[in-house]
């Protein structure tokens, strides 16, 4: 032990720093089993915070902590029941007697393609992911999805050649890979779905006319002078301009409002 001046060490409340969880005074703890070992953790925490409270440190397998990046998929089971449950560690609150493990990555097949070369036909997806035809409709993928995506539905749509349906059904996918981890056909559903959305965006969904017109206007140099003007301003002038900017009122009827400054329209 190193020497310390006992008088100067104040007894600090147990406070975690950074991402570490804070245990409030008098908080109830519950037992959870992380990779088979029991830990007492505050009942109010998410799985991710509970694991950090227990001393685990996430080097990988944690990302946005907001339920959208798909980095922290977790499989868990409640003691005494066979049923497996699935969730995101950063969103799911711990429960007593939860047995859990992180599946931060699954080694699913991911095809390499050039979106400009593959074309917009379903056969392009079939050729890159022929394993989708190994689907037996067991539906474990859908049951495993922490985002409630109809995974079997979009795999079925892909087999039927309906890219639009697959793209729309899989829109909420966050690429966590839990579907693939449960698949007896060894199908990388989430990668196939991403390809479907890309093919849909590139080849199928109609291009917005107003977007095309705006890009053409930008490229023709219509807005160059305005940007130059802004770029030449001092920081103070720029801030002033920002504060004094005109805003369209919320819920204004279309066409009912015009800015006083019309030079740029």
């Amino acid at each position: 032990m190193c020497e310390t001046d006992q008088k100067t060490v104040k007894k600090m409340p147990r406070v975690a720093t950074g991402d570490r969880a804070i245990l409030p005074e008098g908080a109830k703890t519950i037992p959870v089993y992380i990779m088979g070992k029991m830990y007492e953790v505050p009942e109010t925490l998410t799985i991710m915070k509970a694991m950090e409270f227990a001393g685990f440190k996430f080097l990988r397998g944690a990302g946005c902590r907001g339920g959208i990046c798909g980095a922290c998929p977790t499989v868990y089971r409640m003691a005494g029941d066979y049923k497996l449950h699935f969730g995101l560690a950063c969103q799911t609150v711990v429960e007593a007697n939860m047995y859990l493990a992180q599946i931060p990555f699954f080694p699913a097949n991911r095809a390499i393609f050039n979106i400009d070369e593959i074309g917009g036909l379903p056969e392009a997806i079939h050729a890159l992911y022929p394993e989708i035809f190994r689907c037996v409709a067991c539906n474990q993928c859908t049951k495993a999805c922490p985002m409630d995506v109809d995974v079997l539905g979009y795999i079925s749509a892909l087999k039927q050649g309906n890219i639009e349906k697959a793209a729309k059904l899989s829109f909420d996918c966050i690429q966590c890979g839990l579907c693939a981890s449960r698949c007896m056909g060894e199908i990388p559903q989430y990668h196939a779905a991403q390809l479907a959305r890309r093919v849909y965006g590139r080849y199928i969904v109609p291009q917005a006319e107003h977007l095309k017109a705006r890009v053409a206007a930008i490229e023709s140099g219509k807005y160059d002078a305005m940007l130059d003007e802004l770029a030449a301003m001092s920081k103070e002038d720029l801030e002033k301009k920002y504060v004094e900017r005109e805003r369209e009122p919320d819920f204004a009827e279309i066409g009912s409002w015009q800015p006083k400054e019309t030079r740029y329209l």
Binding site: K143, G153, S156, Q160
Partner: protein, 294 residues
């Protein structure tokens, strides 16, 4: 009249000619076709191992969809889908142990015990509409078209789900006869085209398929009618390659029976999607003056 319909994956892409002609024909005959919602692939082949229940889940799920949507009958068209759905239905109806296991496994679905009847399109035509009514509605009889019914494997085998007894071709014969065609006898009508074995065979070298086409040509048959997209692929679409490789000597244009039905009912040929057949298919009907003027 309204029916619940299960199309199958291939019918949505490469066999649109089978599907579109079938739906358009039924509508002309006064039947509203309602495709079941949220259907999935049937699995194409019935699993033959006694302990393998997971491969029954796919077809059973479709039957559950039909039950949920209030159907007591599910009409289907593709021979392979028909076979897979009908055989899975048999298990759910008759084998209580397997039924319970499958129902327990699909804990997210309602229980199913074989309440929906799987009906092939041909059976539906005969039993519900009848050949006479179809005959009455024929606008362009397929006069002089020497066509043979080709059943392949799964329409008749095994007996417990066969649309008619092994060796009998009364259903398609009845239909083609009503359409005004000359129905031909054909010794290879129940021979297998090679089915999924085509996966390992170079294009045009499927010997089982070549043998069937040659037997048809030798019998003076001008055209074959089928209800299976895999038969059509092996027997019809491969004919150019089979000729190039010297495995068959002449084309025998191949059709889905629904295409012939739609043509005879005088429907717009757009419904038949002949562009998905070998080019000789449309040419033969053209030469027989059977295609409605565009």
């Amino acid at each position: 009249m309204k029916i619940s319909y299960y199309p199958g994956c291939t019918l949505k892409t490469k066999a649109r000619n089978l599907d579109r002609a079938a739906v358009a024909s039924l509508e002309t005959l006064g039947v509203e076709v309602q495709e079941i919602e949220r259907w999935n692939c049937c699995g194409a082949v019935h699993s033959l191992t006694a302990d393998d229940l997971i491969h029954q889940v796919g077809p059973v799920r479709n039957l559950i969809r039909a039950k949920e949507q209030g159907a007591d009958k599910l009409v289907t068209l593709c021979s392979m889908c028909y076979n897979t759905l009908a055989r899975a239905n048999q298990i759910m109806k008759n084998d209580t142990v397997k039924r319970d296991t499958i129902n327990r496994f699909m804990d997210e679905e309602i229980d199913y015990a074989g309440e929906v009847e799987v009906v092939h399109y041909l059976t539906y035509l005969q039993e519900v509409i009848g050949w006479q009514k179809i005959k009455d509605q024929v606008k362009i009889p397929l006069t002089d078209l020497k066509v043979a019914p080709y059943y392949g494997c799964t329409l008749q085998r095994p007996a417990e789900v066969g649309i008619e007894p092994f060796g009998s071709y009364a259903l398609m014969t009845g239909l083609l006869d009503a359409l005004g065609a000359t129905v031909m006898n054909f010794t290879a009508a129940d021979k297998c085209c090679g089915s999924y074995q085509v996966l390992g065979v170079p294009a045009g070298e499927n010997k089982a398929a070549a043998a069937i086409v040659n037997l048809a040509a030798d019998a003076g048959i001008e055209a074959l009618a089928t209800s299976c997209p895999l038969c059509e692929y092996n027997l019809g679409k491969q004919q150019g390659q089979m000729i190039a490789k010297g495995n068959i000597t002449a084309h025998v244009p191949t059709y889905y029976f629904t295409q012939l039905l739609a043509v005879a009912l005088g429907l717009d040929t757009e419904n038949c999607h002949f562009e998905l057949n070998d080019p000789t298919s449309a040419e033969l009907l053209q030469s027989k003056k059977c295609l409605a003027a565009a």
